[in-house]
């Protein structure tokens, strides 16, 4: 087991039972979302069935923000000396991965929704551009995480990168909003989204947010567990390689895979 010398040393976030319960609830709420979103909620007066994409698009966007927020907080907790623990680094990494998936999903679903409603796959709206930059910022973060290094070195590097990304997002958003508002008066977003929303539509939207959040918690725990197992395996490989060298078991030195 990896010992990072802190009190907060855990190889899992939740008890297996808790994870199973969360996973089960995620499945139940997802099924409910499918039923309510596709069959119970009426089609939108203006947009027809295409509007149903909102029940996935909005929760995905919310989850992306939640995931990146968690990454930022955990990175800060790692970098701050007193709370330094690899637990935070693992959560940060796992959450960023999910965040990138959900951001990608948000962009993809938004594009699919935009095509029939706006007539284009992509519009240079401030929110869209910011989301795209966000996607690439954290894609870079994940690339950085993939670089082999000692765990504490990687954690420090990635922690700084995550915080830079987090600080940069408001600037990106601000500058892009400014840029777009100088060029066009109103955004292309349909204002009718903000007007009253029918009861079952609201229900579908809330089911979407709930099910996606449960899914996020479930996947976060799963990803965390995977990370721990990964670290364990690397450590075992390293020990095996050292033992092999020490005993001279392999005369033809060859290459000793130390996970590079």
């Amino acid at each position: 087991m990896i010992d990072d010398g802190s009190a907060l040393r855990s190889d899992r976030l939740m008890a297996p039972v808790a994870r199973r319960v969360v996973g089960g609830l995620a499945v139940v709420t997802l099924v409910a979302l499918v039923v309510v979103g596709l069959f119970v909620a009426p089609p939108d007066a203006l947009q027809g069935d295409a509007q149903r994409l909102m029940y996935l698009h909005v929760p995905a966007a919310w989850l992306a923000y939640l995931a990146f927020g968690v990454t930022a907080v955990c990175s800060a907790l790692y970098l701050w000396g007193r709370t330094r623990s690899l637990v935070w680094d693992r959560i940060a990494g796992a959450s960023a991965e999910l965040g990138v998936v959900f951001t990608g999903l948000t962009l993809l679903l938004g594009s699919l929704w935009g095509r029939p409603i706006w007539g284009v796959w992509w519009a240079w709206d401030a929110r869209l551009v910011t989301t795209a930059v966000l996607f690439f910022l954290y894609l870079g973060y994940l690339a950085l995480r993939r670089i082999p290094a000692a765990l504490d070195v990687r954690a420090k590097r990635c922690g700084v990168a995550a915080l830079i990304a987090f600080v940069d997002v408001p600037i990106v958003h601000f500058s892009v909003t400014w840029w777009r508002t100088l060029h066009q008066e109103a955004t292309v977003f349909n204002p009718d989204l903000d007007v009253q929303i029918e009861g079952t539509m609201a229900l579908a939207l809330w089911l979407g947010v709930l099910s996606f959040t449960l899914l996020y918690v479930y996947l976060l725990d799963l990803r965390y567990r995977l990370e721990v197992l990964d670290e364990d395996r690397d450590e075992r490989d390293l020990e095996a390689a050292i033992a092999e060298r020490a005993h001279g078991a392999v005369p033809s030195a060859g290459t000793v895979g130390v996970g590079s």
């Binding site: 690439f136 690339a143 590097r157 600037i171 500058s175 400014w178 100088l182």
Partner: protein, 224 residues
């Protein structure tokens, strides 16, 4: 030694090496001019497109040069254990950061001056009001140099750094490209009033990244 004296020492070292090796002069500046030529090939120069989009092309070229400059700034210390020497020199991390970012900013400013000449001559751009243009360029350059130096040290010990730095740095400096381009457009169009808000944004960006760099550079240098 004070922070600034230490920074001047590091900047002096980097610039002296640069003055002798002449990599920026002999490779990065010609590279920038080639990019300007390529833009002219890509966008028909006869239709006035180049003149209209010149600010954007200028700053995209500068961003590309920043990538080269950052990789160069950290290649200086890659050999002969120079990075270990720097770590053990007893100099403060924030002053090393200021020094390296300062040297990079000076190189970039020289590059931009020559590139401006290129844009004026090749793209037929007339610089109507200079003060906002110069201030925007200065603030943008400080921001780019600070962010570049920060990511440079982050990736210093990594084998894949040549591909990693562009991926990490370019999205982060997207606001600089946006702000500097708009400020230039306003200056060229002769409406400096439109440029000042963007100059403000660039100053905020620069201040923020100089601050983060001064805090984070030392710990990152230890690990690289």
């Amino acid at each position: 030694m004070s922070l600034l004296r230490e920074a001047a020492l590091i900047a002096g070292k980097d610039l002296r090496i640069e003055a002798r090796a002449r990599v920026v002069g002999q490779q990065v500046v010609p590279f920038g001019l080639i990019v300007l030529l390529l833009f002219a090939f890509a966008l028909d120069p006869d239709r006035g497109v180049l003149t209209r989009v010149a600010p954007g092309l200028f700053w995209v070229t500068v961003l590309l040069a920043v990538l080269l400059g950052v990789s160069r700034a950290f290649a200086l210390e890659a050999d002969n254990g120079a990075r270990d020497a720097l770590r053990m020199s007893g100099l403060d991390g924030s002053s090393i950061f200021l020094g390296k970012a300062g040297a990079l900013a000076v190189e970039l400013l020289a590059f931009e001056a020559l590139l401006t000449l290129g844009v004026v001559v090749l793209f037929d751009v007339r610089l109507a009001s200079l003060p906002p243009l110069i201030l925007a360029s200065a603030a943008a350059t400080v921001g780019l140099a600070a962010a570049g130096t920060l990511y440079g040290v982050l990736a210093a010990g990594i084998r894949a750094r040549e591909t990693l730095v562009p991926m990490l740095l370019l999205p982060v400096v997207a606001p600089v490209l946006l702000g500097a381009t708009r400020a230039w457009e306003a200056s060229i169009d002769g409406v400096p009033g439109d440029a000042w808000p963007w100059v403000g944004l660039l100053v905020i960006f620069a201040t923020l990244f100089v601050g983060i760099g001064m805090l984070a550079f030392g710990p990152l240098l230890e690990e690289s």
